[in-house]
């Protein structure tokens, strides 16, 4: 017997199995490329649960894509190891402008809780003393738009960081003052319009119209 979709809510589960986003105010269109810069795979495990049905990350409009050249932001986990510096920079280089980075965990930004004696801070300090961990290059440091602290961050924290990043990124685009920002806004308006239209014929007609002209 298969447990059907309708039975899901009866499972030992969650208060949060609906298509409605748990964190309000979050609807965006944001493509993320995950880059593991030397994390202990716990952050990856948590990211995997984000894309599943429970946290339904795509419901917010956030998607993990497979190439940095399609990405609005790089999602960096781990402290950035010497061995990953080259690949991480290569991924960063092919990203479209304006470049943006979201960091996961306390390592990359070196921002750990500052209570002395408490373990996370001391442990982070030891990792930074390691010969195999490099400092983030300045170009990348400047591109950080959001951080998700925690080891690993709780799913809610991750989602909030991603939504914040999406917001910052659209601000960045606007600041650029190029047509890019305006155009993408128009595209999104159009997309919203399309979503409302159920009629396939209308959608097809719209598609043939030049972008920006309201039907």
């Amino acid at each position: 017997m298969t447990v059907g979709w309708r039975a899901l809510s009866r499972l030992v589960m969650p208060d949060r199995l609906s298509s409605e986003p748990a964190i309000s105010g979050g609807r965006c269109s944001f493509f993320v490329r995950h880059v593991d810069c030397g994390s202990s795979n716990v952050a990856e495990a948590e990211l995997m649960s984000l894309v599943g049905p429970v946290y339904n990350l795509e419901g917010y409009g956030i998607r993990f894509v497979s190439s940095p050249s399609q990405a609005d932001a790089l999602l960096m986990t781990g402290p950035l190891t010497e061995n990953m510096l080259g690949p991480a920079l290569a991924a960063f280089a092919v990203m479209p402008e304006p470049k943006a980075i979201v960091t996961v965990g306390d390592w990359v930004t070196r921002s750990w809780p500052d209570d002395e004696g408490a373990s996370p801070g001391r442990l982070a300090a030891t990792l930074l003393g390691s010969y195999a961990v490099v400092d983030l290059p300045d170009t990348m440091k400047r591109a950080i738009v959001a951080q998700a602290p925690g080891d690993p961050p709780e799913p809610d924290v991750l989602i909030e960081a991603l939504l914040l990043a999406a917001k910052r990124k659209s601000e960045l685009r606007r600041e650029e003052g190029r047509t890019g920002g305006e155009r993408s806004k128009r595209l999104m308006d159009l997309g919203r319009e399309l979503g409302r239209l159920r009629n396939w014929g209308i959608r097809e007609r719209l598609r043939r119209q030049p972008i920006g002209e309201k039907p």
Binding site: T2, W5, N41, S49, P53, N83, G129
Partner: protein, 577 residues
């Protein structure tokens, strides 16, 4: 000690005393023998591998400051059926950095030899009549970007000096010119024309690692695995920054999804050194967490497999089930991945554990899981994609010395919960061996293909569930005072300075083994971490390569490789350290 162990240890004592001086070691399931000559080492290794001992770990240690004033290599072997570790302490010549390779006799030693080459800077002797010796080149753990004469596990440089050297070297090399970064070329011996790289940054949420796949048409001809991208210098940090009692914190960082198994293995080693008796409650509750960790990892892997064969609905349902276990973890231990639970001397959880809540919740959970798992393994779509795909035969598995789930799916009964039971596992043999819920057939579960690994995962979830029920029951029967005493305070014993101990725990991928040597002043002289992935990565390569076994041609299609990789579900971070 059971009868089998006694017989085996009597035998091994007789054999080893021919070879060299037997040393005193803490723990009765441990025999240590000192060997100085190469011929002796090879002879002994050959004998051990013939008598079904397998390699557990290899530790190279810079003991130039200690009594013997030289490098030493410790080969840790273990027996398949008897609860016994045999450690060969091999002494290099005074001032020499060359040793005798054993990877032709024990193929499992090969990755260790490459690791030792990179991190300690010892290489197999060049005059040795072993073809394998030439294969041990630099670059697996420390890639080309590192200064070529940097050996982080030698004790001559302090940690700060090591870091300063790497940083200085990086400054000289690196410009802020992003266009200078190109993907690295193919490793030696690969013709770029017919091969393509996958990674180190994968299309998905995966750790970093690179696969060079050589293919003709759709068939994989060769697979080269290049790891080390996640190398964080963990072993050096153990000895430079942490003390013996706090080391578990770093152990949790080695491989995040098996945090608990890693910290448990560390704590067990440290408990041997500090001679700490773990209270009864912790003896029962530690395995509970260990099994919970196994369950959520197995369920995650099953979901991944379902997704890779295109069964999104199964993947989604497994994801929901996994989330249920993660939330149970959070309720019991305060952390979804069970961090900061272990201590040297016991466990520490903030909230008191409610037995009824665990068993009740898991009882409902296992019902849903059973329905889903049964539906998955009878689906013809799933069976077609996984049966006879990525076969690792029993013989190959034994030869390569694979461990954990991969070994069990190939019909090798290697499980440290049975072979080297610690704590409550001593009395749990019956549950570990009992099928409980009959699911799939035994022949299919030992076939060594992707389907077998799936089936073994499903079965182990049921075993873990039964174990948790039994453990919680045992724990609730303790007197109330004992039930709440979760840890004893460990005390550093100066008499154990420069003494080593082994700690192990059966994590979701196999046995996690820590070899720990105490330094003076509560320090760590050397901590060798061995994640099961280290032994299983070479098997993935064999599995993907075409070969003929018993008249059958075994080959893997490129499209099946993700499936194969997911069925192994190995840790990159645990291998790279």
């Amino acid at each position: 000690m059971n009868a089998g162990t006694e017989a085996a240890s009597a035998e091994i004592y007789a054999m080893l005393s021919d070879f060299g001086a037997l040393l005193n070691t803490p723990g009765e399931q441990l025999v240590q023998v000192q060997v100085r000559s190469d011929d002796r080492l090879r002879e002994l290794t050959e004998r051990l591998s013939r008598e079904s001992y397998y390699l557990v770990t290899v530790v190279a240690n810079d003991e130039r400051e200690l009594e013997d004033r030289r490098y030493k290599i410790y080969y840790v072997f273990s027996h398949l059926s008897a609860d016994l570790f045999v450690i060969i302490e091999y002494l290099l010549d005074h001032g020499s950095v060359h040793y005798c390779s054993i990877s032709d006799l024990v193929p499992a030693a090969e990755p260790f030899e490459r690791e030792i080459r990179d991190l300690v800077g010892l290489c197999p002797a060049t005059n040795q009549q072993v073809a394998a010796a030439g294969k041990v080149t630099r670059g697996s753990w420390l890639h080309d970007a590192y200064p070529p004469d940097l050996f982080p596990l030698r004790r001559t440089d302090t940690a700060a000096e090591l870091r300063a050297r790497v940083v200085a070297d990086a400054k000289a090399r690196r410009l802020d010119d992003l266009s200078a970064y190109r993907p690295a070329g193919p490793p030696d011996g690969i013709f770029a024309g017919t091969s393509f790289p996958v990674g180190p940054i994968h299309a998905g949420i995966i750790e970093s690692g690179q696969f060079w796949i050589t293919a003709t048409g759709e068939t994989i001809e060769d697979l080269q695995i290049r790891l080390g991208y996640n190398h964080r210098g963990i072993e050096r940090m153990f000895q430079s920054y942490l003390n013996l009692i706090d080391g578990w914190r770093l152990a949790e960082q080695v491989s995040g999804d098996t945090s608990f198994a890693h910290s448990l293995a560390y704590c067990r080693a440290a408990e041997v050194l500090t001679d700490t008796e773990v209270p009864a409650a912790a003896r029962f509750l530690r395995p509970v967490f260990l099994e919970l960790e196994r369950i959520h990892n197995h369920v995650a892997a099953l979901g991944g497999l379902a997704e890779d064969v295109g069964m999104e609905q199964f993947a989604a349902e497994f994801a929901v089930l996994r989330e249920g276990v993660l939330r149970l973890n959070k309720r019991l231990a305060g952390h979804r991945y069970l961090r900061s639970v272990n201590r040297v001397g016991g466990i520490g959880v903030a909230e008191p554990i409610e037995a009824a809540c665990v068993t009740g919740e898991l009882g409902r959970w296992i019902g849903s899981f059973e329905g889903l798992a049964r539906a998955l393994i009878v689906r013809s779509g799933f069976r077609d994609r996984t049966i006879r795909v990525g076969v690792l035969t029993r013989r190959e598995g034994l030869k390569l010395g694979v461990t954990g789930l991969v070994a069990r799916a190939s019909g090798i009964p290697r499980d440290s919960r049975l072979g080297h039971p610690v704590g409550a596992y001593r009395d749990a043999e019956e549950i570990l061996l009992a099928p409980g819920v009959v699911i799939g057939d035994d022949r299919e579960a030992g076939a060594g293909d992707v389907f077998a690994r799936t089936l073994v995962r499903v079965r182990e979830v049921f075993v873990s569930h039964r174990l948790i029920g039994w453990l919680i029951g045992q724990w609730s029967e303790l007197a109330p005072a004992d039930r709440l005493k979760l840890a004893t305070e460990p005390r550093i014993l100066p008499k154990n300075n420069y003494t080593s101990a082994i700690g192990h725990a059966e994590g979701c991928r196999g046995d996690v083994v820590y070899w720990l040597m105490q330094d003076k002043m509560n320090g760590i002289y050397r901590c060798k971490v061995r994640d099961p992935s280290m032994l299983n990565w070479p098997a993935l390569r064999v599995c993907a390569s075409p070969r003929t076994r018993d008249g059958n041609r075994l080959e893997t299609l490129v499209a099946d490789f993700p499936l194969l990789n997911k069925s192994f579900s190995l840790s990159y971070a645990g291998n790279d350290l």
